[in-house]
């Protein structure tokens, strides 16, 4: 495989979550993390999953990643059931989960190391391409502990992008960062998403963040974890997290989120 082929922007995947339920045993009780959740995500769509902690949104992400197996229901990528974890669906975590024993380049290379059909030289070239995409070429030989929180998440993004996945799964990737760094990364993520055309599922509890990034915002409610509302965000990109139009969306979503909770109490 040539580098050009490897770096080609392939079609993003369509995702379909069909009637997924998942229960976790917790002490003597059973936590119904997800109950009969269905969701379909279009090719190249950026969908944000929002909800309070414990509403199952991260569980859904793990199920789509193939890291957890649902009790019932299934996940389809392009109409085919997912066969477990795979490089077509790469995950980014809240903690960068970068490997401290490798340098920056080594971490990006790791996600390519098991991808067949590439020589080592080609792998290095591909890894450098993605480091450049996230603006960290200069730091390729740095150790992970030398990086700031924002830089770590950039490396994690490069690592997730490197095998050229069709789906990117992001589990509160910016939650632990300071506001300024986060705003920068919103810009970067939107730019990279438009350049590389991925289907993105993005979990957050930050409504503004969701409105800023998502084509669609899906609201979750806890116990049992389920989807209560969906919003389409029709704002031009790139979006600025501080814009007034975005604030209006965020307000509507927040009130729906609160409404959902009140409904929950009434039940």
């Amino acid at each position: 495989m040539s580098i050009a082929e490897e770096l080609q922007i392939g079609p993003a995947a369509k995702l379909a979550v069909e009637g997924v339920s998942k229960t976790f045993p917790l002490r003597k009780e059973h936590v119904r993390a997800l109950e009969n959740v269905s969701l379909s995500v279009g090719e190249g769509e950026f969908v944000c999953l929002v909800g309070p902690s414990g509403c199952g949104k991260s569980t859904l992400l793990n199920i789509v990643a193939g890291l957890e197996i649902p009790d019932s229901g299934r996940v389809l990528a392009d109409g085919r059931a997912i066969p477990g974890p795979g490089r077509d669906r790469m995950m980014m975590f809240q903690e960068s989960a970068l490997f401290p024993w490798l340098d920056v380049l080594g971490n990006v290379l790791f996600s390519l190391s098991l991808k067949p059909g590439l020589t080592d030289k080609e792998r290095r070239e591909v890894a450098r391409f993605y480091l450049e995409l996230v603006g960290l070429t200069r730091f390729q030989h740095a150790s992970i502990h030398e990086l700031s929180g924002g830089m770590k998440q950039r490396v994690a993004l490069a690592r997730a992008l490197a095998p050229n996945p069709r789906v990117l799964l992001m589990d509160e990737p910016f939650a632990a960062l300071d506001a300024l760094t986060r705003e920068q990364l919103y810009g970067d993520l939107q730019r990279i998403w438009e350049q590389r055309r991925k289907t993105i599922l993005f979990v957050t509890h930050n409504v503004r963040e969701a409105a800023c990034l998502g084509d669609r915002v899906v609201l979750f409610a806890p116990s049992p974890g389920r989807i209560t509302h969906e919003f389409r965000v029709d704002l031009p990109r790139p979006r600025d997290i501080n814009s007034v139009a975005l604030a209006e969306y965020a307000t509507r979503i927040t009130s729906a989120l609160k409404g959902g909770e009140r409904q929950e109490v009434a039940e």
Partner: protein, 256 residues
């Protein structure tokens, strides 16, 4: 490397001062020169007994290295298995914890009864000094690797053995290196004790030279051999472990 003054000149000056103080102490004639010979005496012994010392060092290091490597080869996989299987942790792991608290010199009488005055006894003592520390450190290290590393690796296509070799093992390196260092220290001490304690006819080690120094009342030999033993310990630290520790400091950002 950047500061030759602090890295070379200061230790040099310090040890020169130590030798001078030693010499002055001898010159002051507080103790009999039989009990405290001049550093020059010890130096003369070291040069005159060079062939003897070299062969003793070779015998000792051979026992140490073979036993130590065997201990690691044995301990590392057992430690990994203990971390992987709870039932092993509660059986073999517990045994390792118990035997690690046993001062490894205590293996010497048993080794002599089992293996006689042979190389086998020496190797056994060294292996027993090494293996339990390595098992415990590996097990502890593996269990301290954040589970998210393995999860992240899984999404990148890593499975089974690949995950263990490329993620879990390097992730637990800080623990494993400190366990190997402890194993080395235990093995080295117990080997010296064993060599002083019993004569092994298949080879005269440094411990034997030390022992005969005492028998002959040759203090310059006792001190000379002690110096060699210290030098070997220092060299082992600098050659075997310092590169690993530098790597760990650089990558994990610990120390300094």
């Amino acid at each position: 490397m950047k500061q030759p003054l602090t890295r070379i000149l200061i230790p040099l000056a310090f040890f020169a001062g130590l030798l001078l103080a030693w010499h002055l102490l001898v010159a002051a004639r507080i103790w009999s020169p039989v009990l405290l010979p001049d550093p020059a005496e010890v130096g003369r012994y070291l040069t005159s007994a060079l062939p003897e010392l070299a062969s003793a060092t070779w015998v000792t290091l051979k026992r140490l290295l073979i036993g130590y490597i065997a201990g690691i080869v044995l301990g590392l996989p057992v430690g990994l298995l203990c971390a992987r299987f709870v039932s092993l942790r509660n059986s073999v792991g517990l045994l390792a914890l118990g035997l690690q608290t046993l001062p490894s010199v205590c293996w010497v009488p048993l080794a002599l009864l089992w293996f006689g005055q042979s190389e086998g006894a020496m190797l056994f003592v060294v292996v027993m000094g090494t293996v339990w520390s390595v098992i415990l450190a590996t097990e502890n290290g593996v269990r301290s690797v954040p589970p998210i590393y393995a999860r992240a690796a899984r999404t990148m296509g890593s499975r089974g053995l690949h995950t263990w070799l490329k993620v879990i093992l390097p992730g637990s390196l800080p623990f494993i290196v400190s366990g190997m260092k402890q194993g080395w220290a235990f093995a080295w001490r117990s080997l010296m004790a064993a060599e002083i304690y019993v004569t092994i006819l298949t080879g005269f080690g440094l411990g034997h030279l030390l022992h005969y120094g005492r028998e002959l009342n040759a203090m310059e030999q006792v001190l000379g051999v002690m110096l060699v033993i210290v030098a070997i310990g220092l060299a082992a630290d600098k050659i075997l472990f310092a590169p690993w520790e530098r790597f760990l400091h650089r990558r994990w950002g610990t120390g300094r």
